[in-house]
């Protein structure tokens, strides 16, 4: 009975997140348009003079841009918790007879759903433009499920611990851009100078991008498929645990 109630509560929170997402059209549109700009302008622009490992640059960065879409979508979603708090909507949830872990899981699944919907659209566009195949897109989607659990949890940790939206720019400068640039999304990570190379394995997105590139372009992986999967799994578990802890500590 109690377990059933937990599932309802988690479902209720998930449902709210998904409904809100669909009603904020601007968010959906910008979540799709930004990655397309990267692919169509940056990818084509740099691609006109650069090839990587014999692969057309646009095709090379497509997996990276999918990873970026997961990263930005997930972190922005997590930062949204601040709005929830400002809106006082969160009070309604926190005063309900529901453990914080269920609140966290509901929000995590809600955020992952939002992100995965954006990814599905992005992958469909990728297939339409000939950047990848249908089969690769489906496998990529599966990778993104795991990756979004991981990064949404990270976003929620940040959101739960941030006091006000003013810290937003700091998160951009110190979390989002470094994670994006040091993930191998835009360039291969194998030949980097040592001081940068040490940072790559600490970044969960590196494993996601590595896996995505593997399923889309085939051939070599930087870390190996098993390492990628295990690392992502491990990061997800650690982030989820830290996220639940942060939600339990969270004050109004």
């Amino acid at each position: 009975m109690i377990a059933l109630n937990l599932i309802y509560a988690t479902y209720a929170i998930w449902l709210r997140e998904v409904k809100v997402f669909f009603r904020e059209k601007e968010r959906v549109v910008s979540a799709i348009v930004t990655p397309l700009l990267w692919i169509l302008i940056f990818g084509a622009g740099l691609g006109s003079s650069v090839k990587i490992n014999g692969i057309d640059y646009q095709r090379f960065i497509f997996p990276g841009i999918v990873g970026m879409a997961v990263l930005f979508g997930s972190i922005f979603y997590g930062l949204y918790v601040i709005w929830d708090r400002k809106l006082d909507f969160l009070k309604e949830v926190l005063v309900a007879p529901v453990p914080r872990s269920a609140v966290f899981i509901g929000k995590m699944l809600g955020g992952a759903s939002d992100v995965l919907l954006q990814i599905a659209i992005l992958l469909a566009i990728g297939v339409a433009l000939g950047m990848t195949t249908t089969m690769s897109a489906i496998l990529s989607f599966a990778v993104c499920i795991l990756l979004s659990f991981c990064i949404v949890s990270l976003g929620l940790i940040i959101g739960a611990n941030m006091k006000s939206p003013e810290g937003f720019n700091l998160i951009m400068s110190f979390v989002l851009w470094p994670m994006f640039m040091l993930s191998g999304a835009l360039f291969p990570v194998e030949n980097l100078p040592a001081y940068l190379a040490v940072l790559i394995p600490l970044n969960p997105l590196s494993y996601g991008v590595d896996l995505l590139r593997y399923v889309m372009l085939g051939g070599r992986t930087a870390f190996g498929v098993a390492t990628d999967l295990m690392s992502l799994g491990l990061f997800s578990i650690v982030f989820a645990a830290a996220g639940i802890y942060s939600f339990e500590k969270m004050k109004m």
């Binding site: 400002k86 006082d88 309900a96 007879p97």
Partner: protein, 323 residues
């Protein structure tokens, strides 16, 4: 059994005691007001009773459960209407209620019916499928009240339920609250800094200031305990009249202020004619009926200010709306 029992409750923020040793019993079915100026500790008290803040000292039980040891049981038994709007703008009125029902683990086959009933009771049936961002301040409040009562709580907490609403809307909200409290047989605890709301709508009131209770009782009794209404007499010989007045029964706190005499007059309907007959030099009198504010003045030496320090409900809605 009391609906709420608070014993020596304390909460510190840093070194400041926001709630400084409050003890209180609230009986089942009562409409109970916590009256005090901004920053008196009203919201902090409510938050502790809802389990949203941990008390630093003392204990509190709500609906028979200890707020620190059994917070989930307490939460199941209470409904809360927060000071600032906590309904989701982008959901419809009905969706907000559906989510609440699921969070409180209501049996799925009863949810639809119960929501219909509550929407009807607060007059939002026709707007139930509109997103809340299209609602007025009063409608949001009504939706929150319906939501607070949806899961059949034993106690409903209302933190400044009419803050920032215009007087007519405030009156409406109170009509709804009173009607619902009768229908749902629920104990109601509300905080307010509006004197007349505590006087008119509460069975009993606790007046608090700086985290301490300064008086508890029925509003009427508390006002009576002041000994009468305040009268201002105008006369050419204030000193002379005042010294004689001081000796009369039923007249208290006689004071000369300029060319006026200020005094507390018990039962003024009977006493004023007698005073007029006795002191022919009195030209006019202004009578101020006693209010809880006078009681507050008596104990603290200051007024309960009615302006809103923290911004009204509408401002909060404006501020809180998503960009």
């Amino acid at each position: 059994m009391s609906a709420i029992e608070i014993v020596k409750l304390k909460k510190y923020f840093g070194k400041i005691a926001a709630v400084n040793g409050i003890s209180l019993k609230i009986e089942e079915g009562e409409i109970f007001a916590i009256l005090g100026p901004n920053g008196a500790g009203k919201t902090t008290t409510i938050f502790m009773l809802c389990g949203l803040l941990q008390p630093d000292e003392g204990t509190a039980t709500v609906a028979g459960f200890d707020v620190t040891r059994e917070p989930f049981k307490v939460r199941q038994k209470i409904g809360v209407v927060f000071q600032s709007p906590s309904v989701d703008d982008l959901l419809t009125g009905r969706e907000n209620l559906e989510m609440h029902a699921m969070l409180y683990g209501m049996p799925l086959d009863q949810i639809g019916k119960r929501i219909d009933t509550m929407l009807r009771l607060v007059g939002l049936e026709e707007r139930q499928h509109s997103q809340v961002r299209e609602y007025s301040g009063g409608m949001r409040r009504r939706l929150e009240i319906a939501r607070g009562l949806l899961h059949h709580p034993k106690v409903l907490f209302l933190d400044e339920p009419t803050i920032g609403l215009d007087p007519q809307t405030r009156q409406h909200i109170w009509n709804y609250i009173r009607r619902l409290s009768e229908k749902e047989k629920v104990t109601i605890v509300f905080t307010t800094h509006y004197l007349e709301e505590a006087e008119r709508f509460a069975d009993r009131v606790a007046i608090i200031d700086k985290g301490k209770i300064i008086a508890v009782g029925q509003p009427k009794r508390l006002i009576e305990s002041l000994g009468g209404d305040t009268a201002f007499f105008k006369t050419a010989q204030p000193e002379k009249v005042a010294s004689k007045m001081k000796k009369m029964n039923g007249i208290l706190n006689v004071k000369v202020i300029g060319d006026q005499i200020k005094a507390t007059v018990k039962n003024p309907q009977k006493q004023l004619p007698i005073i007029f007959r006795r002191f022919r030099s009195i030209k006019s009198v202004a009578l101020q009926p006693a209010t809880l504010n006078d009681l507050f003045m008596k104990y603290t030496g200051k007024q309960i200010r009615e302006e809103e320090g923290e911004g009204g409900y509408h401002e909060r809605i404006m501020r809180s709306q998503r960009e």
